[in-house]
Amino acid sequence: MKLSDKDQLEQTISQTRELLEHLENDEIEDAQELIDSLARGGDEDLFVEIGKLTRRLHEALTTFHLDSRITSIAASEIPDAKDRLNYVIERTEEAANKTMDKVEHCNQLADVIAKDSQDLLGEFQKLYRRELSPGDFRQLCKRIESHLEKNKNSADDLHSQLSEVLLAQDYQDLTGQVIRQVITLVHDVEESMVNVIKMFGNIDRYQAAKGESTKAEGAEGPIVNKDKRDDVVSGQDEVDDLLSSLGF
């Protein structure tokens, strides 16, 4: 309990009288004890003051740290994060296009092999039905030879195209690293904001808001937490069910 200034003054006066009495009565030991207890009382106040100062210093340092963190986040890390995310878009788009280039090329090769094989099978049927003249037969043999030759080259080409498709998947590693860095930044921003709320805002309102779910209006893009949402469908089957329930 803290004494008021008036109480403090009265206490000091009575303690001084007591001390004088001890001294006048030659009670040196009692006087010494009283002086010690007075000194200890002073120490306690001193410790309280030092404690207060330490806390203020600590708060000032935290605020300073907070300020410099927020400054650096706003000034460089957020713009940097935007560049990083754009890099992710570019890399994934590039990989998708590269993969589709190769796949389209492979599809064309496969289509040619299928068509040539189909034609040759037709010729073979004629051969079985003995509808081929010796001249036709020689032609067929030549076509088979060139078909096999072409197939071998196509297979080599397919193999190298598919290897490039494989290599094009390296974007996952690169973009994954970049996205992880951005996630760390988002986490830091969240922490800084919570600190600001703790120091200057209403922490109770923050805690309450944490429990609320925000409902977005209109187009949202892909829903990443479908299992936590009850207003979205989980897949095509549910879309079909919903539409058929509407009479589609």
Binding site: E93, N97, V232, V233
Partner: protein, 124 residues
């Protein structure tokens, strides 16, 4: 069959065009949002529209509504291929007169099935 594919991502347009080609539809054209698609539809004699929902500029749902409100275009079949998966959105699209709704990510089989279903209903 002349088909317009509307999506803001060129990779997605390319995927859809490739799948359509595999299904035998080779006359495909592209637009990157509703406001580029609408004038193309009005002058291009398209038979079919495949559109995303979420695009900058004019969104797919507004394109659908604009098509249904246009005397010349209102009977063109519209298939929505989108990541939008809220029930209220699917209902909104149905009420606006969509002919099919596919949620991304989707498969070639789903696209083929929905196209067949739409053609069946139109022919039958």
């Amino acid at each position: 069959m002349k088909i317009l594919v509307v999506d803001d991502f060129s990779t997605m347009r390319r995927i859809v065009k490739n799948l359509l080609r595999d299904l035998g539809f080779t006359n495909t054209h592209e637009a990157d949002d509703g406001s580029t698609a609408l004038p193309m539809l009005q002058t291009g004699n398209f038979d079919f529209l495949i559109t995303d929902w979420n695009m900058p500029g004019m969104q797919g749902i507004d394109l659908l509504k604009a098509v249904r409100a246009d005397e010349k275009l209102k009977s063109i079949p519209v298939l929505m291929v989108t990541a939008e998966s809220k029930r209220e959105q699917i209902i909104e699209a149905a009420q606006a007169g969509v002919n099919g709704y596919i949620v991304k990510p989707f498969t070639a089989a789903t696209l083929s099935e929905k196209l067949d279903k739409i053609f069946e209903r139109i022919d039958g």
